[in-house]
Structure formats: structure tokens, C-alpha cells
């Protein structure tokens, strides 16, 4: 058995179903061995998207997504995808081919020091120099990627190691890492302290982040909120923990969030941040969430606690374990008056928009789209104005909302949606992007056609890099610089070139009719172009 065969055996043992990749000589032994396996391969059209697609898989299955690319440029192209996953704590296994191990360090053809290059974006990385290390390394890599604070792990494997004979293949049952033991269970004393504060609280609130979804703790969190009637707000990555229309949910916080959510967070007397980093977009003034209130910060990564705001009660652990432990406590929490106040805020602080009737109103369109989407649909937002409108107006029922929150990587939505669709072929998967972000990954229309991955794509087209244009509108008094997207392709012809059904929506009049066509068949991809007012603003 060769090293490459052994790698495939490891992936099979981990239950990997799909590998997104792009071959080159240095990873060819791997792609040769995978032919003998039931693992599906998808030829992505640029390596960055292999990592994004793996991220889509990981976010839907809860298991690490896998991508495999060649050495040198293949490996360096994947870095943005790795950094995107790292910023959102998404578990990935990135396999990179490498030049012959005897040539390492001599700058031969397609050699790049990829373990060195990704050092600041991975949870861990390996360079395998002995074929017999393969089973142990893969076992450790999957364990590291998907435990504690999740994240990408890179495994670099020289071609001669892939071709070498392995003495004996034995996939370890257990991981034996002397140095890596994340804390998942919350400290009992700290849990009691939190309960005691909640008993005294008049205006408690829970702010949920992506960590709740990563821990799979949605049910626990909803049950806790409902049992004690504690209101909930979310960060961008926490959207979907609570259904958007849940009576106890008050929306996304932050500078692009809902005014009532920000007000709720600032006026609370006990704030429980869970699985959230307290980063600048969600909390622009950390002082406001520490002054005059008890801040409880729950995170599986101790380094996040106190990094941006000093909590009154730090609580290290996995959200699922902690909310299971909370559920064992009996206490009463009286906050009906507070809920009344928040309901008033929700009514009074509704953002007002003045849509231009000559165009599609992106807010109303996204609202209608999500109302008509299936309950468990997966909505993938890209980056830019489309993302902020999606955060503000998409209605999550029992499905998922995916986006690149931490890194804000344009072009994420289409490959991530492809990953999600691959992982959940029966679910409705829709990618919503702008015309800028669409053009960053439109080469994947070919991948969708080749591998029959029927993702539906909405392009909110305004011929601008809208988010930057909006920034230049406010900051540089409409002195636009390098934001005009003139020259973009005719999307109808582009769709035709890929045999993809296409509809153009010019204003809201035909909205329902286009949605009828878009949503009628989950196994049919489609491209919908929505013409939106180039001067429209997210605020």
C-alpha cells in the first residue's frame, strides 16, 4: 500500500464523502488512489474555491470539509480560503501535494513553503516526511480541526511520500496528543455564578455568535431562552441560531445590525455573550457592554475571553455542554417588563427604506425570497451590500444562513453553496451575491454543470462594488475610485453559455413570478439577475 492509498483509507475512516480539488503533478498519486474509492471528487475551477466549498460542507455536516490541491501555486491559491475558514472557525482538512522531500528547500519547480505561509491562518499544520506517519497525522488532524475552537488544518505531503510503501496500515482509534486538550465542560462554580446573576437580573439578554452553531447548540439555546423567557440577539455569524421571527429574537447587533438589537444589548443589565468574539463589527465600543452591567462571556477558546472586553464572569467551554448544564439548574427570571420594552423598540426602531420603484428593492426581494424558501433551506450570502441586506432581511426558519463573517471574503457564496448542496442534496440551496462577488467565482458555473450541483444563484446587480461605493459616498463625498464595474458580462449570455436557466428581474412587479420559477425545482440550478438601484444604500 502506498502513502497515497493510505491517505484515502484515512479519509474513508473519517467518513469523508467528497473532496474538492485541483490536481497537479505533486498531488497526482493522491488523485490516482482516490479513483479506487467511493469518495466523490469535484474539480473546482480555482483552488481558493476548493477551500470555500469544503467550508460549505463543514458548516452543514458539522464535520471537517476536505480539499486537496497541488504544490506551489495550487497551495498558495488556497490560502485565502484557509484564512476565511480560520476567521470563522470552520473545520477544514487541506491536503497539499509537495515536491520530492529530498528537494525541499531548494526552490525547485512548483515548490512553496506552504506550512510556513499558512502558519498564521491554520489551527495546525503538518509536513509529512515519513510515510508511516500518515495514519497518525490524519487522525490527529481531524481531531484538532473539529474539537475545541474549530479551524483549518493543513497537511503537506511530498510526492515521494505519497508514492512510498507504508509498512502496515492501522488507523488509530484514539488520538494521543500530549499537548492538546481543549476544555469543553464549563466550570461548575462559574455556571452557578451565572445563574445567580440571572436570578437578580431585570434586563438580561443573550448575544449568540457562530460558536453556538459550531457547537450544534441551537436547540439547547432556544430551549433555555424559551424556558426562562430571556431575549436573544445575534452577531452576523450567529444568525440562524434563533428563527428570525421568534418572539424572543431581536435581530443582529453591530454597526450594520438592527437598532433595536443594539439598544437591547446596551441597555441590558446581564449580557451573556456566547460563542462570539466581541470583534469590532459586532461591538464597536466594548465599553458599552462592560459598563453598568454584568458581562458573562462563554467561549470554548479561553483566549477570546477578555481579549476585547473584560467580562465579569468568564466561562470557558463548549456552548452545547454549558447550556445543557444551565438546563439542569432551576431558577426564576422575571423579565416580562423588559420584553415589553424590547417589543416596543422593535416596533419603533424599524429601519425605514425608500426604495426606488424603477428597480428591484433588494430588502423586499430578500424578504419575499426567504419567506417562500423551504423551511430548512440554506441561504449563502456573499460579501458587500448584498451581505448586509441579507443579514437584515433574510428570514431564517429552520434552515441555515452562511456567510464569510470574520474575513469578509468576496466570492465565498457560490463555492460555499456548492459545498452545502453537495452535503445536503435534498435541501434548497441559494447563493445571493453582488455583481462584484459573482465575478470573483463565476468560473464555478462550469463545476456546477460538470458535477450536477444545482445551486440557485441570485446576483444583485448594480454595476458597482456597492459597499465600497457607499463608503466612498459617505467618506469621500461621492469621489468614486475604482468601484465602477462597467465591462461586466451579459449574465443572460453567460448563463446560456453554461446551459443554465436564467431570469432577469427588473423591478418588483415580476418578483413573485420569478420566484415561482426559481423555487419550483430543488434539482435545477438557475441564475437570477436582479437590477438594483446603483445608488441604493444599506443604511
Amino acid at each position: 500500500m502506498t502513502g497515497a492509498d493510505a491517505i484515502i483509507k484515512c479519509l474513508e475512516a473519517e467518513g469523508v464523502e467528497t473532496v474538492f480539488g485541483y490536481p497537479g503533478v505533486a498531488i497526482c498519486p493522491f488523485f490516482n488512489s482516490i479513483l479506487d474509492s467511493d469518495i466523490k471528487t469535484v474539480l473546482i475551477r480555482t483552488e481558493q474555491n476548493a477551500a470555500h466549498a469544503a467550508s460549505g460542507v463543514a458548516r452543514i455536516t458539522g464535520k471537517p470539509g476536505v480539499c486537496a490541491v497541488t504544490s506551489g501555486p495550487g497551495a498558495t491559491n488556497v490560502i485565502t480560503g484557509i484564512a476565511t475558514a480560520f476567521a470563522d472557525s470552520i473545520p477544514l482538512i487541506c491536503i497539499t501535494g509537495q515536491v520530492n522531500s529530498e528537494l525541499l528547500g531548494s526552490d525547485v519547480f512548483q515548490e512553496a513553503d506552504i506550512t510556513g505561509a499558512v502558519e498564521s491562518f491554520v489551527k495546525y499544520s503538518y509536513l509529512i516526511k515519513n510515510v508511516n506517519d500518515i495514519p497518525r497525522v490524519f487522525k490527529e488532524a481531524f481531531h484538532i480541526a473539529n474539537t475545541g475552537r474549530k479551524g483549518p488544518v493543513l497537511i503537506d505531503i511530498p510526492i515521494d511520500i505519497q508514492n512510498a510503501q507504508i509498512k502496515q496500515f492501522h488507523y488509530p482509534e484514539e488520538v494521543n496528543l500530549r499537548t492538546y486538550k481543549p476544555t469543553v465542560k464549563g466550570h461548575a462554580v462559574q455556571i452557578k455564578k451565572v445563574i445567580r446573576e440571572l436570578e437578580k437580573a431585570k434586563r438580561p439578554i443573550i448575544c449568540v455568535g457562530g460558536g453556538v452553531l459550531l457547537a450544534g447548540a441551537q436547540q439547547e439555546l432556544r430551549a433555555f431562552s424559551e424556558k426562562y423567557r430571556i431575549p436573544v440577539v445575534s452577531t452576523m455569524m450567529g444568525i440562524g441560531v434563533m428563527p428570525t421571527k421568534h418572539p424572543l429574537y431581536y435581530g443582529m447587533v453591530g454597526n450594520n445590525g438592527k437598532p433595536c438589537a443594539n439598544r437591547a444589548m446596551n441597555e441590558s443589565d446581564v449580557l451573556i455573550m456566547v460563542g462570539a468574539r466581541v470583534a469590532d463589527r459586532a461591538v464597536s465600543q466594548p465599553d458599552l457592554i462592560t459598563q453598568n452591567k454584568i458581562l458573562v462571556h462563554i467561549d470554548v477558546d479561553p483566549a477570546e475571553i477578555g481579549k476585547n472586553a473584560g467580562p465579569t464572569i468568564p466561562l470557558v467551554g463548549d456552548a452545547k455542554h454549558i447550556f445543557q448544564d444551565f438546563a439542569k439548574e432551576e431558577f426564576t427570571c422575571d423579565c416580562e417588563a423588559w420584553i415589553g420594552t424590547l417589543n416596543d423598540y422593535r416596533r419603533e426602531l424599524m429601519p425605514k427604506r425608500n426604495p426606488n420603484p424603477a428597480y428591484v428593492d433588494p430588502a423586499r426581494f430578500i424578504e419575499r425570497l426567504s419567506e417562500r424558501m423551504e423551511d430548512n433551506a440554506i441561504y449563502v450570502a456573499d460579501v458587500g451590500q448584498n451581505q448586509i441586506w441579507s443579514c437584515g432581511y433574510h428570514i431564517v426558519k429552520q434552515g441555515r444562513f452562511l456567510t464569510s463573517g470574520g474575513m469578509g471574503t468576496m466570492g465565498y457564496s457560490i463555492p460555499a453553496a456548492m459545498g452545502a448542496k453537495t452535503a445536503a442534496p435534498d435541501r434548497q440551496v441559494i447563493a445571493v451575491c453582488g455583481d462584484g462577488s459573482f465575478q470573483m467565482s463565476m468560473m464555478e458555473l462550469a463545476t456546477m454543470r460538470q458535477h450536477n450541483i444545482p445551486v440557485k444563484i441570485i446576483v444583485l446587480k448594480n454595476n458597482y462594488l456597492g459597499m465600497v461605493r457607499e463608503y466612498q459616498h459617505y467618506t469621500y463625498k461621492d469621489n468614486y475610485s475604482v468601484v465602477d464595474l462597467t465591462g461586466s458580462p451579459d449574465l443572460e449570455k453567460l448563463a446560456a453559455a453554461y446551459d443554465m436557466p436564467f431570469r432577469r428581474l427588473e423591478n418588483m412587479d415580476q418578483c413573485e413570478e420569478v420566484l415561482d420559477v426559481l423555487l419550483q425545482d430543488n434539482n435545477q440550478s438557475m441564475l437570477v439577475e436582479c437590477l438594483i438601484d446603483p445608488m441604493d444604500l444599506v443604511k
Binding site: L127, T179, Y180
Partner: protein, 166 residues
């Protein structure tokens, strides 16, 4: 700003030192000195890092270091509960008249003359940082040709602070 000394016990993997120094550089933390060497158990390396920052930064340094997968143990070496030593080699230009006074000074500090040449002397000196600083400042009137410092290595006092590996 205050100074802290951290002692790390790490897995002796390739790249572990670059992971640690990379963490300091990308997060903008200071390293005043770093020393590393294999322990009695060849699977592990002991690293002593002297760093500085305010309380919050120092707390983050400790937490971020703890997150690195290769790090087995991290502890602060507090001055009262630890011993620190640094070794320096210093080459001083000396005339015939100056030679005896450098030798006397080295004796006073319990250093050693390890190389003698017609125009210079090389002194080896070990001690804690204040002793080293005192010695260097006393060389003020001389020309220091070359100075090599190892940075400090440290251990906690007594048996209470020993980290036992399974």
C-alpha cells in the same frame, strides 16, 4: 509596561520555535529574549521567553501561547520563586595598562577570562540580569569590541513547580 518571564515546555517538533516566534511577531508582542534547548526527555524542549507589555497584553500572550497545539505547559517564572541565569561573552579592547583592571573586575564578578590576545580579552560571565547589567555598565570606560548574550534560562525554585510528564 512590565516584564514577565514565561517557561514553556513544548513538543520537540520541527517548526515549533517558528510557530512561537511567529505568534509574537504577528500579534505585535515583544520578545526581549528567547532561549530554547532540549530537556532531559528528548521529546520535549524547554523555552524561556522574556516579554513585556501591560497586564492585558501579558494575559493574551499567555492565552495565545497556550492555544498552540505543540505547547505542553506554560507557566510564569515569578522573580521570587525562580532562578534565572544568563551567560555573556564580552570582548574588550585593552592596552597593557588596562589588562589587570579588567582581570580584577572579572574576578570580582566571578567571571572567567577565556581568551587573551595582544589587544583584547574575552570574558565569560554568568548571572542574573542585574549582575550582567552591572558588569556591562562598569565597562563604560573601555571599548567593547563584541558582546554576545544568550538571553535568560530559568527554572522555578523547589519541587512544587516541577511539571511532571506522564
Amino acid at each position: 509596561m512590565q516584564k514577565k518571564v514565561f517557561q514553556l515546555l513544548v513538543d520537540n517538533t520541527s517548526g515549533v520555535l517558528s510557530r512561537i516566534s511567529g505568534l509574537f511577531s504577528r500579534r505585535g508582542y515583544n520578545i526581549e529574549s528567547i532561549t530554547a534547548g532540549v530537556t532531559a526527555d528528548p521529546r520535549f524542549t524547554r523555552i524561556t521567553i522574556v516579554t513585556s507589555g501591560d497586564d492585558e497584553i501579558l494575559e493574551q500572550i499567555e492565552k495565545q501561547l497556550s492555544k498552540l497545539v505543540d505547547i505542553r505547559d506554560i507557566k510564569e517564572l515569578k522573580p521570587d520563586e525562580s532562578v534565572y541565569r544568563e551567560l555573556i561573552l564580552v570582548k574588550v579592547r585593552v592596552s597593557n595598562e588596562q589588562r589587570q583592571s579588567i582581570i580584577a573586575l572579572t574576578d570580582t564578578f566571578r567571571g572567567k577570562i577565556i581568551d587573551v590576545a595582544p589587544e583584547c580579552l574575552t570574558v565569560e560571565l554568568t548571572g542574573n540580569q542585574s549582575k550582567i547589567e552591572a558588569f556591562i555598565s562598569l565597562l563604560d570606560g573601555y571599548e567593547i569590541l563584541e558582546l554576545a548574550r544568550t538571553g535568560i534560562a530559568g527554572l522555578g525554585r523547589g519541587i512544587e513547580n516541577v511539571t511532571f510528564i506522564e
